[in-house]
């Protein structure tokens, strides 16, 4: 498909979806969202991009092989789980760090749970895209 409007629209939409996916990923712990949903949104962005501009361009825009992204995601999730062991807890227990916390305010919360969710995000993104790209290239 060589429609200029479609290509321009798809590019814009892909960017918006990516930003939105990051937003969904980060808010997930307290509001609807999370790694799974975020990964699906990001994947949708790239799938639309691939339909408009072709999978070759989409792969270039992604920079990494989708399979490697999924693999890295699984590794990150595992690391997040192992971190709990380093602190002496059972595997996959969430570890939290509250930067600048006071009596009333929790400050900036950082956690291995977020790291785990980023792993989930990457696995979903990579897995969906490796299927989608392969499917589009096969037909």
């Amino acid at each position: 498909m060589n429609s200029v409007i479609l290509i321009a629209g798809a590019r814009l939409q892909a960017v918006l979806l990516l930003v939105f996916s990051a937003y969904m990923l980060l808010r997930g712990h307290n509001a609807p969202g999370g790694g799974f949903i975020g990964g699906l949104i990001a994947a949708t962005g790239f799938v639309v991009y691939a339909i408009a501009c072709g999978t070759a361009d989409a792969r270039k825009a992604l920079r990494f092989d989708p399979g490697s992204i999924a693999g890295a995601g699984l590794g990150i999730a595992l690391l997040a789980g192992i971190m709990a062991v380093l602190w002496g807890d059972a595997l996959f227990t969430g570890q939290w760090l509250f930067i600048g916390a006071t009596e009333d305010d929790k400050g900036i919360p950082l956690s291995t749970v977020l790291v785990f969710d980023i792993g989930v995000y990457l696995v979903v993104l990579g897995a969906v895209l490796s299927i989608a790209f392969a499917l589009e290239e096969a037909v």
Binding site: N30, P32, F36, T44, G94, V113, A132, L135
Partner: protein, 752 residues
């Protein structure tokens, strides 16, 4: 391999295993005084406490005897192979396999936990597979390795089943505890299945008739491997198992007769087959079978004589058989052949080898004052003491022992001292690392023969105590036990043995005639394998048609049948169904889903059908939203979107939908409606009962204080049940890889 050429053999790959084996040997050796006093050692680490799997080490006389044989002979064999395989491209690989095997074997004999024992048991099977197939570029080695793997692997599965039965019957997997509770297995209803399964494992591993044929084939391995695994250690694992379970399983007629009959048949058959061989290594392989048969036979009984005989013969056999295998390896390496008909009078060229061979052979043939003599006398005494059929057992022992005398002559007299042929010229004595093993092993056989009490107090008595399971004293080991029946039987053995040796050529021709005409186990094995392969091919053709429609019909049809039958027989009736009181919105969503379904059913266009399904999915998502599950709704919406987009990409290239035959649509409708009805009934039944809200309450109260999150769905996913999520994303990744592979693989002969 010509070891007379100077090769660098002092390499880490060659000598590191020797150091490992040697130091473990010393570690076990320092336990001899403790074990000799009749004590046992036990160490326990809990591994999977919920399943009763522990890493527990139990060392008594039996384990220690085995451990010393494994590490002691191991160290000598590894020194031997350091020189034997020096310069081989894969020497490091060989050392790794051999060391792994040794460690697995040690684990097997010192594990108290039966499940741990099983793991080590399988590890020895796998390392043995790798070692037999070491020369993997030859078809014979690959076939022999696979055959050994399959035979012992099938036996291993039976053993696992037996172990699980033992564990459930006795309530523990710790063998020392089971053996300490008298009659816990013997008096249970599961006794017979347990014995059958355990013996299936032991008999395949220890190559009893009719599972024996893999062992001679395993001689495709390099000679040090044959010396180590297939004579001194691994094949004795089955014997170890029978000895270890002896206190709990022996003492019944079934045990006695099974072991006696299988052992006796194996013993006589193997010693006759050994005479037939002209390849020295094969002859030794069959005598190993004979020894395994003899040990099985002896372990069938409970009397002090037979068990002392078993413990002594175990040690005797390992010493002389490993020595003789190593000698044959030297002959092979120095002359290039192992054929009995072309090796004569090499004693001048190989003086040290010849001496070691002679000493070991005297022990094998059972001449005084060697340990073999004591072993043989005890075997006779044990056979006479056998409660069941002393004449049958003693006769079997007599025949096989006489044949051992003849074979000892063939292996150790003819190649070195016989003048019936010209010695091969230019043969040089083997280098010292290859001589150390046979010499030490042969000398030990002589030493223990002259000073039997050293062996008796240190190893044999504790072993007997471990096998019989009570304090009944072991019979004394004596060179001169007085003029008695065993002595006369010994003399008869020598007379018979020498006559067989004298007429060996004639006997061998007769045997070759018999065996070539009779059915062969080996070709039977090939037929069995071919049968299994063609059977599974036929089955695959039936159940794997490759047509998606068939899979769907079978899957949903089965689900329908199973659910409907269960509901019919188990349910107490269908709950009443009224018109639910819901909002107008809900009815609209319901209508939307119904319309989407109908659209999918009646359309002839793929795109429309997918769009219809999308409508159904979005309807579902709306239901989730209406009942406040935004996370699930978002996910559902995104997945629907992605599916439609992806399918749109693929559908463009697919052919137009053809209307299906009416009969098929009727079948589909039947299955679909049936499943719908069944699912509805199940849902109705679920909603009539009270819903357990314990988990819901827990997550509601714990989510914020414990996991600092307000979105319960997400908190469950990434914190409370993070391990599950990890498993799920691993599955997602695996699925993606599989689909990727399916899409990228080009089917053969197709250009699409």
């Amino acid at each position: 391999m010509d070891s007379s050429t100077p090769t660098r053999w002092i390499t880490p790959a060659g000598l590191l295993p020797v150091a490992i084996a040697g130091s473990i040997f010393l570690w076990f050796a320092q336990m001899i005084p403790v074990i000799g006093r009749g004590e046992t050692l036990r160490y326990v680490w809990e591994w999977v406490p919920s399943l009763g799997v522990n890493v527990s080490i139990y060392i008594d006389g039996l384990s220690l005897t085995f451990a010393l044989l494994i590490t002691g002979i191991g160290a000598l064999v590894m020194l031997y192979s350091a020189r034997y395989l020096a310069g081989h491209v894969h020497q490091a690989r060989f050392s790794l396999y051999l060391t792994s095997f040794m460690l697995a074997m040690i684990g097997l004999v010192i594990s108290d936990n039966l499940l741990a024992l099983f793991i080590f048991w399988e590890l020895t099977t796998i390392t043995s597979y790798l070692l037999i197939g070491f020369s993997h570029d030859t078809v014979k080695a690959r076939r022999s390795a696979l055959q050994a793997l399959m035979m012992t692997g099938v036996g291993g599965l039976a053993l696992l089943a037996g172990i699980i039965l033992i564990g459930t019957t006795a309530g523990t997997f710790e063998m020392s505890e089971i053996n300490a509770t008298d009659g816990v297995l013997r008096d249970s209803v599961m006794y017979l299945p347990i014995v059958l399964l355990v013996l299936a494992g032991a008999f395949t591993k220890s190559a009893q008739m009719p599972f024996h044929f893999w062992l001679p084939n395993a001689m495709a391995a390099p000679t040090p491997v044959s010396a180590y695994l297939h004579s001194a250690t691994m094949v004795k694992a089955g014997v170890y198992l029978m000895a270890r379970t002896h206190p709990s399983l022996a003492g019944t007629d079934f045990w006695l007769w099974t072991l006696t009959i299988f052992g006796a048949i194996t013993m006589v058959f193997a010693s006759v087959m050994a005479l037939r061989q002209t390849d020295l290594k094969l002859a030794l392989a069959y005598t190993t079978l004979m020894a395994l048969g003899a040990l099985t036979l002896l372990l069938g009984n409970e009397s002090g004589y037979t068990i002392t005989a078993a413990a002594t013969f175990l040690i005797v056999h390992s010493l002389y058989k490993a020595a003789l295998f190593l000698v044959v390896g030297i002959l092979d390496a120095q002359t290039g052949t192992r054929d009995a008909n072309s090796l004569f009078g090499l004693a001048k060229a190989l003086p040290i080898t010849a001496t070691a061979a002679a000493i070991a052979a005297f022990s094998m043939a059972g001449f005084p004052p060697f340990l073999g003599f004591i072993g043989k006398e005890l075997k006779y005494a044990g056979a006479i003491a056998v409660a069941s059929e002393p004449i049958f057992v003693a006769g079997a022992v007599l025949i096989s022992s006489a044949l051992m005398v003849a074979i000892a002559g063939i292996v150790s007299y003819r190649p070195f001292w016989s003048r019936s042929g010209e010695p091969i010229a230019g043969v040089k004595e083997a280098p010292w690392p290859m001589l150390v093993g046979p010499v030490i092993l042969a000398i030990l056989g002589a030493f223990f023969g002259i000073f039997p009490e050293t062996l008796a107090t240190s190893l044999v008595n504790p072993t007997v105590a471990a096998i019989i399971g009570n304090a009944e004293p072991a019979k004394e080991l004596k060179l001169w036990a007085g003029v008695n029946l065993p002595l006369f039987l010994s003399i008869a053995t020598f007379v018979l043995g020498f006559s067989i040796y004298y007429y060996k050529q004639k006997l061998r021709e007769i045997l070759i005639g018999w065996t070539t005409r009779g059915p062969s186990f080996d070709s039977g094995w090939d037929k069995l394998m071919a049968g299994i392969a063609s059977g599974s091919k036929a089955l695959t053709r039936v159940i794997q048609t490759g047509v998606l429609y068939h899979y769907m019909v079978v899957t949903f049809g089965t689900a329908l049948a199973v659910l409907a039958v269960t509901l019919w027989f188990r349910s107490t009736g269908i709950p009443a169904m009224g018109v639910p009181q819901v909002e107008l919105w809900d009815w609209l969503v319901f209508l939307l889903v119904l319309l989407g379904t109908l659209l999918t059913l009646i359309t002839n266009s793929r795109i429309t059908a997918i769009a219809g399904l999308g409508v159904v999915g979005i309807g579902m998502a709306m239901i989730f939203i209406l009942y406040s599950a935004p996370d699930v709704a978002i996910t559902q919406l995104l997945v629907e979107t992605l599916v439609v987009v992806l399918f749109a990409a693929a559908a463009l290239k697919l052919p137009h939908l053809n209307p299906e035959p009416l009969s098929r649509r009727w079948l589909d409708a039947l299955i679909a409606l049936g499943l719908g009805v069944v699912t509805t009934v199940i849902l109705l039944k679920v909603t009539t009962g009270p819903i357990d809200r314990e988990l819901t309450t827990f997550f509601e109260t714990a989510s914020w204080p414990q996991a600092f999150g307000q979105n319960i769905v997400n908190v469950i996913l990434v914190d409370f049940r993070a391990l599950d999520t990890f498993g799920e994303i691993a599955v997602v990744l695996i699925a993606a890889i599989s689909i990727f592979a399916l899409l990228k693989a080009k089917p053969e002969g197709e250009n699409k």
